[in-house]
Symmetry: C2
Subunit: 716 residues, 2 copies
């Protein structure tokens, strides 16, 4: 391995001086092209390499096997116009977005990034029907984490994990769906090392003093590669380059052949966490993790890569360079990511958020002030890719919207719960008008989503549907099937946006509850409509009483309360047994709770193998009881069989050895010894000694059994 | 009106003898064409009209505005090959399916038809993302209904409505989603009459003896029309023609110009229900209702028309003829329905179902034996358009499948509930293998759905996913995010098929319940793992006790039980007040229950206008309490304002009229009369008489107030 690397680093010393040609054909966009003259300010370079990254981008192959929905997206790889979204295969979308570096609380900027990605993913899956596979990294090895954990005195790994868990909790609060796979840098170090080895092997990285650097100039000079496809104008931005290399990396600057080169592997300094590698102890650079882990899980190509605007350069540009250097396709297109999408900046009252400005808002603080729905509506006020300004006004607006939607849900649920089919269903002009508006808005919402996920536009249309329904229901009669359909659609769109309005109403919604409240409501109405006639009221109340009786017959005790009671009893019993030193009783209680009590509340416990935790399942009480019965029945059958066998055995034992051979027609009826063992066969011929010996054996065995039998029976 | 009709019937007497040309270009399918030589056996016709209906069918216009998903369907209008599905506009799908004639219990044949349509609709909406608008008719005017209601002695309308409600109940049991609009024949008679008038006007129907008949020959002879596009081979099938005309229609046969002609309007005979029309009292024919109501609601064209195989001829063929005669497009294509889809036949143990064979199975009987999931799985064993054989074996198979799926849900829910992120997430070969299989199966399921909704094929693929997951989870560790994603996908597909496995587990799933059971389960595990160490067990039990304490702190009383208690109290109170003759107390109780008790269980009652029923909504308890507080606060503020006004009034009243003008600097300080009214201004000039009179008025008014004030204050 080491030898190979030495050879590779030798080859790295050769310089390529050829001027590269444009390696790919022109793609669909060729107006207002911005020529990226990357290296004009580089004193070291002998050639000027002009490449237009936006012109290099190619639309994935469109054919009949591709699922095409008319969706167009803003692609940072070719950002002048929206481009059609074409999956790499069928309807499969490999989706990668940059996760957090875990060393502190997540803030409103993170909220925006991850909610935006969440909404885009939901729309792709739930609205357009793509099969999205979502991979997200957790940067748990990083200079900032090292610094912060050192400051806090906490162990590096535990410190990172603590903040990672904090991040997941925040995401849960924000109703951000989890990815299909989480890749932690700390869990992929061997893969990262192999990945770097391959890049060195392909000639695009070099080892220096225990670190490995990416050779940007060499990469860009290659005819099949292009560096900085996303933000070519920043390629010589010293501050960005500096930030990209991390807080602890500055001293190694002299090891680089060019200031644009960046670390793939950093040799560790004393006191820093390290992993063994062919280049000595060290840790991965920042950018390499995403290349490695996204390649590992998703492969080539990735359909959509998302991240915040501030990650374009150098992080995403370096990531692209690394992966394209890794795959190093020669005969086909080097386009590891087909669509790179970036979420816009977030400002607070017009200013950038920073701890120094004291306008740094954590997600925890936000969530303590506002519901997740309000926050989501806040972020949905602008498209995901535009700059967002967080202000008191914008919060107020989101709250007003939330209230409108919430009220709409309450009203619709109430009307639909209290509607029935057994009324006229004929449409009049009001229904036709509402339906026509509905269909038109559905079209508009579709077009809005197709237009780079234009959520604010879609919401505007949805608002008009809601307003129309609110107007419609003011007048009677209401054709409830029509508003039910519209409500179903509204719920679907909300679901596509991750807006949850059901939960608030779910807990109370069991059948008994609904019937009981309906009964109260009807009785009140009858009293109001009784025209002060006590007779009528009396009759209504008596009817209600009898209906209530029917309802309560079916009333099941509260599952939660039962569970709590069972738990209380169990704990008390265990504590008591501990006091009385009755271990067996404790085990018995543990069996009992599984076999009796938990079944009663519809819980099945599978104990699994010894040492493994048990798995508990919510199941149907009746099923469990039936199973238990069957189990008992089987046990009874087993016992019965056992009993029968015993009985047969006992019967065999009860034979007196002296009588054993007496009735056997094979032997002479008259010639036996004193024990009753035959000496001659039925014809009077004397038996051979061997045969007699076997009879003696049998006699002795039976004698033993018979004595046992006599003993047993005498006891009874 | 009558005059116009007479003119029209006159023009009907002219005969068109020209041989029509093929009016439309060839569509995509032109192999194995079956030439429909409709009139070769017709003794009356002088010309032979050959038209190939399958060749007439045209694919709707495909352009970029259309939402194309690669879905292909079997279209009875061109059944040789599957044809691409193209909506008439954008992603809008106008969907019509033939509902039941309501005079008896629905049977397994209905179950198959409506479950099939339900699945197709769900796949289109939930899987492919079309905006489907679904219209379904209820045939509540029909010869069979007249016969049956007469036999039962029940009133015709009520009889039909009773069986309609019975049908809806069956559909609910089968989890068949309701249409977006229900059209009942009885509610659309005026529209049907106008529709018939238009067909007469267009020359394709004639009046005879109070009835109206469709002129089949004339329609088919027209160059722009074609009769019997669906089942041309049956056009002279006497039995089918007879059945199509209804049980009470046979005697009118002589009124028809051809045995193929069919009734649009039937003159009523004595004792039959009737509606007034320009042709006298009568009722609509069977086929006209669907043409009229589908046109009324959906317009031209209809995207998908569904129905049972047995409705192809004459019902659907006549429906098409009527609508195309109604719209009578001259300059463009006459294609009222773009895709006609038919569900296959159902046999019972290889035989047709019939009451005479005593193998007639009602939905109610079926549902009493099997869950809706088992029934759905039974129907999903074959594609919707193939013949299905209902056998004991097929039921058994469906049950086995159901059990497998149910167990999968239970296990997945249990594992996911008991998983956490704070464990290694790194993938090994087992995860890659499972993911690769998953992605492959997703592709296969997509292709199966695209292929004329091939549900059995899709289910086969889904089964393989489930088997793979079941194998995967047997070994530890489990990367739960991966199986969570797969489970989400499986749930989505089940949802697209209308298979519900969540409900069984929903009721018990509140947070307290889950935490409590989790606690019991953990304690058991700790005891098992304690190696008989009582100290360890003791500690675990004490910890559990304290955790349980935390849980129960949050325990809310059961909403259902509270509601029942509130209802009981309310009823008791009302009954008591009735006994005591305390009407006001009853009203007070009705207000109290709204303002106090129902708020406590999160119920808001909106009373609405007098005479209208109130609407109750499930709302958030905290919100309601807050609103109530705000209301009380507002009332307090109002009272405070009122009190202040009173105080000011009292203060004004307390002024002695004799002192009123004394300190006014505008008047002389010295010149007043005995009442204290000034006579000169501050400069000593005498005041005008008019001014003095106004002072007197003011004095008198204040005197009254002052006397009232004195009276009031003396009382205190």
């Amino acid at each position: 391995m080491i030898k190979q690397i030495t050879n590779l680093t030798k080859t790295l010393k050769k310089r390529f001086l050829q001027v590269p040609k444009y390696p790919f054909g022109n793609s669909c966009c060729n107006k207002n092209l911005q020529i990226a003259n990357l290296f004009s300010t580089n004193q070291k370079m002998t050639t000027e390499v002009k490449k237009d990254p936006y012109q290099l981008w190619q639309l994935p192959v469109k054919d009949e096997t591709k699922y095409l929905t008319g969706l167009k997206v803003k692609n940072t790889l070719n950002p002048q116009n929206l481009v059609e979204f074409v999956p790499h295969k069928g309807k499969q979308v490999r989706f990668y977005n940059c996760g957090p570096t875990v060393y502190d609380s997540s803030h409103i900027g993170h909220a925006r990034t991850y909610i935006s990605a969440d909404i885009i993913k939901r729309i792709m899956v739930k609205y357009f029907g793509y099969d999205v596979f979502h991979c997200m990294n957790i940067t748990d090895i990083d200079d900032k984490i090292i610094k912060k954990s050192n400051e806090s005195g906490e162990e590096f790994t535990a410190f990172a994990r603590k903040w990672e868990m904090d991040y997941w909790q925040d995401m849960e609060t924000l109703n951000v769906d989890k990815p299909d796979v989480i890749v932690r840098v700390s869990e992929y170090v061997p893969e990262i090392i192999s990945y770097i080895e391959k890049i060195i092997e392909n000639g695009y990285a070099y080892v220096a003093n225990g670190s490995v650097y990416f050779n940007v100039d060499k990469f860009h000079e290659s005819p099949t590669h292009c560096y900085s496809k996303l933000e070519p104008q920043s390629v010589n931005d010293a501050q960005k380059l500096d930030e990209g290399e991390g807080a602890l990396g500055k001293k190694d600057e002299k090891e680089k052949r060019s200031p644009r080169d960046f670390a793939l592997w950093k040799a560790s300094k004393p006191g820093e966490p390290f992993w063994d590698s062919p280049w000595g102890q060290g840790r991965p650079g920042w950018h390499i993790e995403c290349s490695t882990m996204a390649s590992e899980i998703l492969g080539y190509p990735v359909d959509i890569h998302m991240g915040g605007e501030d990650l374009k350069f150098p992080h995403h540009d370096n990531e692209l360079a690394q992966s394209e250097a890794f795959y190093n396709k020669q005969d086909c297109q080097n386009q590891w990511v087909n669509y790179f999408m970036h979420t816009g900046h977030l400002h607070i009252d017009g200013l950038k958020m920073s701890k120094s400005l004291k306008n740094f808002i954590t997600i925890k603080h936000l969530s303590s002030q506002h519901s997740q729905r309000v926050l989501r509506l806040l972020f949905m006020k602008q498209t995901y890719d535009s700059t967002m300004d967080y202000t008191t006004d914008s919060i107020h607006e989101a709250k007003t919207k939330d209230k409108k939607y919430s009220e709409f849900y309450l009203t619709m649920n109430a009307i639909l719960l209290q509607s029935e089919i057994n009324v006229p269903q004929k449409w009049g002009p009001r229904e036709f008008e509402l339906r026509d508006l509905f269909v038109e808005k559905q079209d508009n919402i579709h077009r809005a989503f197709q237009k780079n996920f234009n959520v604010p536009e879609a919401l505007k249309e949805l608002d008009e549907i809601i307003t129309a329904v609110n107007t419609y229901i003011k007048e009677k009669p209401i054709i409830h099937l029509l508003i039910r359909s519209i409500f179903n659609y509204v719920k679907h769109i909300f679901n596509c946006l991750g807006l949850i309005y059901e939960k608030q109403q779910a807990q109370a919604k069991d059948d008994t509850f609904i019937r009981t409240v309906g009964l109260i409501s009807s009785l009140r109405d009858e009293i109001r409509g009784a025209n002060k006639d006590l007779q009528v009221i009396n009759k209504a109340a008596i009817n209600a009483k009898s209906s209530l009786g029917e309802i309560t017959l079916k009333l099941e005790p509260n599952a939660s309360e039962s569970a709590v009671q069972i738990a209380t009893d169990y704990i008390t019993q265990v504590l008591k047994c501990v006091e009385d030193n009755q271990l067996q009783q404790i085990y018995k209680a543990s069996d009992e709770i599984r076999d009796e009590k938990l079944i009663q509340i519809g819980i099945r416990i599978d104990d699994g193998k010894p040492g493994e935790p048990s798995l508990w399942k919510i199941d149907d009480k009746e099923t469990l009881l039936k199973e238990k019965e069957e189990k008992i029945l089987k046990e009874k059958q087993k016992e019965e069989e056992k009993r029968k066998k015993e009985e047969e055995k006992l019967k065999a034992m009860s034979v007196n050895p002296a009588e054993m051979f007496k009735n056997d027609p094979n032997y002479s009826k008259y010639q036996f010894d004193e024990r009753g063992i035959p000496s001659h066969d039925e014809k009077g011929t004397p038996l051979k000694e061997k045969a007699i010996q076997s009879f003696v054996k049998k006699y002795d065995a039976q004698k033993k059994l018979y004595e046992q039998y006599l003993e047993k029976t005498s006891k009874k």
